[in-house]
C-alpha cells in the first residue's frame, strides 16, 4: 500500500502546523481534548469542494512560510485565512482549488486576512487515527506536531486535471466583530450589571491565545467562587477570579472549575479562530429557543 501513496515533503514547516480533522469527541470520557480544526467552517468547506469525506485530515497552518513539494499529481483546496500562494514560484490569483502535477512546489506566503489556513487534499492526508481522529495532540499522536523535512502521505491521482469549476473562497464572514454565543450553564450566577458588561463590552484578543484557549483583554470584575469541576467544551467561555474571560478552543481540557458564562456557536468559534491578537469582538447573545 505505502508505495502506492504520494509523498509530500515539508521543505519548510512553520511552527503551529498540525494535522486536524473534525476532532476526537470519543476521547472526552478518558480526559482527552476534542482537538480538530480550530475553524471547522473553513475546514469543512475545503473538504466539501474536494468531494472528500467530512472527516478527511487536513493541514492547519498558522504562520506564513510553508513550502511543500508533491511527488505525484493531486488536487488540493485552500480555505480559512486569505494568504499569498505560489506554485513553482509563480503566484496564483485564485488559490482555492489547485491542481498539482508531480514535482510541483507550493509555497504559502503572507497571511492577508485571518489566522488559520486549511490545506486539504483529495482523499485526505493518510495518517494513523486514534479514537476516530487523526488530529494532532501531545501524548495521543506521535509525532504530535509537523516539522521541516517530514514526508506526508496522500492518495495520488493519475494526472493533474484541468479544473472545470473554479470555486472562490470568501473571507468576509469572519471579518465582523460580532461573535454569536448562547448563555452558558453558569450565566445566572452573574449579576445583571455583570451580564450587561459581557453583552456591551467590545473585547480584544490578548496575546495569550493558542489552540487551547483565547484570553480576552477587558475584565469583568467578579467575586464568584470556584465551582465543582464540571464539563467544558470548545466554545465555552470561562470567567476567572481575576475577571479575565477565557474562550476555550479545540485543545482545551474537557472539564473546568471556573464559571461557564457563555457558549459560542460553531460559527462563532470558527470566526474567533480567524481573529488576531488585538482584534475587537462583541458577543451577540442568541435565544435558546429560536436560535
Amino acid at each position: 500500500m505505502s508505495q502506492l501513496l504520494g509523498k509530500a515533503v515539508l521543505l519548510r514547516c512553520p511552527a503551529g502546523t498540525s494535522f486536524q480533522d473534525k476532532g476526537r469527541p470519543a476521547g472526552a470520557q478518558f480526559g482527552i481534548p476534542t482537538s480538530g480544526a480550530m475553524d471547522q467552517k473553513s475546514f469543512r468547506w475545503a473538504n466539501h469542494i474536494l468531494h472528500n469525506s467530512s472527516n478527511a485530515v487536513a493541514l492547519e497552518i498558522a504562520q506564513p512560510g510553508l513550502r511543500i513539494q508533491f511527488d505525484q499529481a493531486c488536487l488540493i483546496a485552500l480555505a480559512g485565512a486569505q494568504v499569498g500562494v505560489s506554485l513553482n514560484q509563480t503566484s496564483l490569483s485564485n488559490s482555492t482549488l489547485i491542481s498539482i502535477a508531480a514535482g510541483d512546489l507550493l509555497e504559502i506566503g503572507a497571511f492577508l486576512t485571518g489566522s488559520r489556513l486549511y490545506l486539504c487534499i483529495q482523499g485526505g492526508f493518510q495518517v494513523e487515527r486514534y479514537l476516530g481522529s487523526g488530529s494532532d495532540f501531545e501524548s495521543i499522536t506521535s509525532p504530535y506536531k509537523r516539522s521541516t523535512q517530514e514526508v506526508l502521505s496522500y492518495i495520488p491521482i493519475p494526472q493533474s486535471n484541468s479544473l472545470g469549476a473554479k470555486p472562490k473562497w470568501e473571507t468576509s464572514w469572519f471579518e465582523s466583530p460580532e461573535i454569536e454565543a448562547y448563555r452558558g450553564a453558569d450565566w445566572a450566577l452573574l449579576s445583571s450589571a455583570q451580564q450587561e458588561l459581557v453583552r456591551s463590552t467590545t473585547f480584544h484578543l490578548s496575546k495569550f491565545s493558542n489552540r487551547m484557549g483565547i484570553q480576552l483583554e477587558e475584565l469583568v470584575p467578579n467575586q464568584l467562587e470556584d465551582l465543582p469541576t464540571n464539563p467544558v467544551f470548545p466554545g465555552t467561555v470561562q470567567l476567572t477570579p481575576s475577571g479575565k474571560l477565557i474562550v476555550l478552543m479545540r485543545d482545551a481540557g474537557v472539564t473546568g472549575g471556573y464559571p461557564r458564562i457563555l457558549h459560542l456557536t460553531e460559527e462563532g468559534q470558527s470566526k474567533l479562530a480567524q481573529k488576531r491578537v488585538g482584534n475587537p469582538i462583541r458577543f451577540q447573545l442568541l435565544d435558546t429557543i429560536t436560535g
Binding site: P25, G31, T229, F233, G253, T255, T288
Partner: protein, 229 residues
C-alpha cells in the same frame, strides 16, 4: 436524586444536580449516563460528566426535545458502585515528592502521619479531566486540604501524586501543574497505544500503597492489581 435539565442551546444541555459530590450522587449520575448512552445512542453526539453535571450534545434539536419529553417520567435508581480497589503503588520519598517536606511542615504533621493520612483512605474515581487519563478522585482527608501553589511548576514529572485544594490526583504525563507533589507512582496511567488508553473507569476505587525508593526503581508492571472485596 432526580436531576433537572438545563437547555443551553438547541442541541446542547446539562443534567443538573444541586447536591455536593458524593458516592450516592455519582451512583445516580452513572445510572443516568448509562441509560442515556444505551437508549439514545443514535441521537447523542457526545456526553461529558463532571462532579454535579452531565453535559449532553445532541445531533439535532429534535433529538434534544425528544429526550426532554422522556426525561419527565424518568426516575432511575442509582447504579451500584464497585467494591473492587485498584492498588496504586506510590513512593512517598522527597526524591519523588518534592513538596513532601514543606507540606508536612506547614501541616504540622510528621512524614509518617502525612503518608498514612494519604494512603489509608479508599478514593473513588469520579471522572477523567484536566489531562488525558487524569482521575478526579473523591476522598482526601480534610487534614490534607491545601491551597494550590501560587506559582505552578512548569514540568511536573509523569506519575507524580499531588494535592491541590480538596483534591488529590496523579499526573499521567509531564505537564505544568500547581499542586503539591508528595510522591510518584511507577505505573502507566495513560497509553494511547492501547485501544482504551486507561485501565480504570469512573465509579471504581483506588488506594495508594506506599513503596520504597528501591521498589519504585525496580517496578516493572505498568498496571495495578485489582483487589476484589
Amino acid at each position: 436524586m432526580i436531576p433537572h435539565y438545563q437547555i443551553l442551546s438547541p442541541t446542547f444541555g446539562e443534567l443538573v444536580w444541586d447536591h455536593h459530590p458524593t458516592d450516592e450522587l455519582l451512583g445516580f449520575q452513572l445510572a443516568y449516563l448509562t441509560y442515556i448512552q444505551s437508549n439514545f445512542s443514535d441521537a447523542l453526539a457526545e456526553a461529558r460528566q463532571g462532579f454535579t453535571r452531565i453535559s449532553l450534545v445532541w445531533k439535532n434539536p429534535k433529538n434534544q426535545q425528544d429526550f426532554l419529553a422522556q426525561l419527565k417520567d424518568l426516575k432511575l435508581p442509582p447504579m451500584q458502585l464497585s467494591n473492587a480497589i485498584w492498588q496504586v503503588p506510590v513512593c512517598y520519598d522527597p526524591e519523588y515528592g518534592q513538596d513532601l517536606n514543606s507540606l508536612s511542615e506547614s501541616k504540622n504533621l510528621s512524614l509518617k502521619e502525612l503518608i498514612q493520612l494519604h494512603s489509608e483512605p479508599v478514593y473513588r474515581i469520579y471522572f477523567f479531566g484536566f489531562l488525558p487519563g487524569f482521575f478526579y478522585l473523591n476522598g482526601l482527608s480534610s487534614l490534607l486540604h491545601t491551597p494550590r501553589k501560587s506559582v505552578p511548576l512548569l514540568a511536573v514529572p509523569p506519575g507524580s501524586v499531588a494535592i491541590g485544594s480538596s483534591q488529590t490526583g496523579i499526573y499521567p504525563m509531564q505537564s505544568p501543574g500547581g499542586w503539591h507533589i508528595i510522591g510518584r507512582s511507577p505505573l502507566t496511567f495513560f497509553d494511547s497505544k492501547q485501544p482504551i488508553p486507561v485501565w480504570a473507569k469512573p465509579g471504581e476505587q483506588i488506594q495508594f500503597v506506599p513503596i520504597s525508593a528501591a521498589q519504585f526503581q525496580n517496578w516493572n508492571k505498568p498496571y495495578p492489581k485489582l483487589l476484589r472485596k
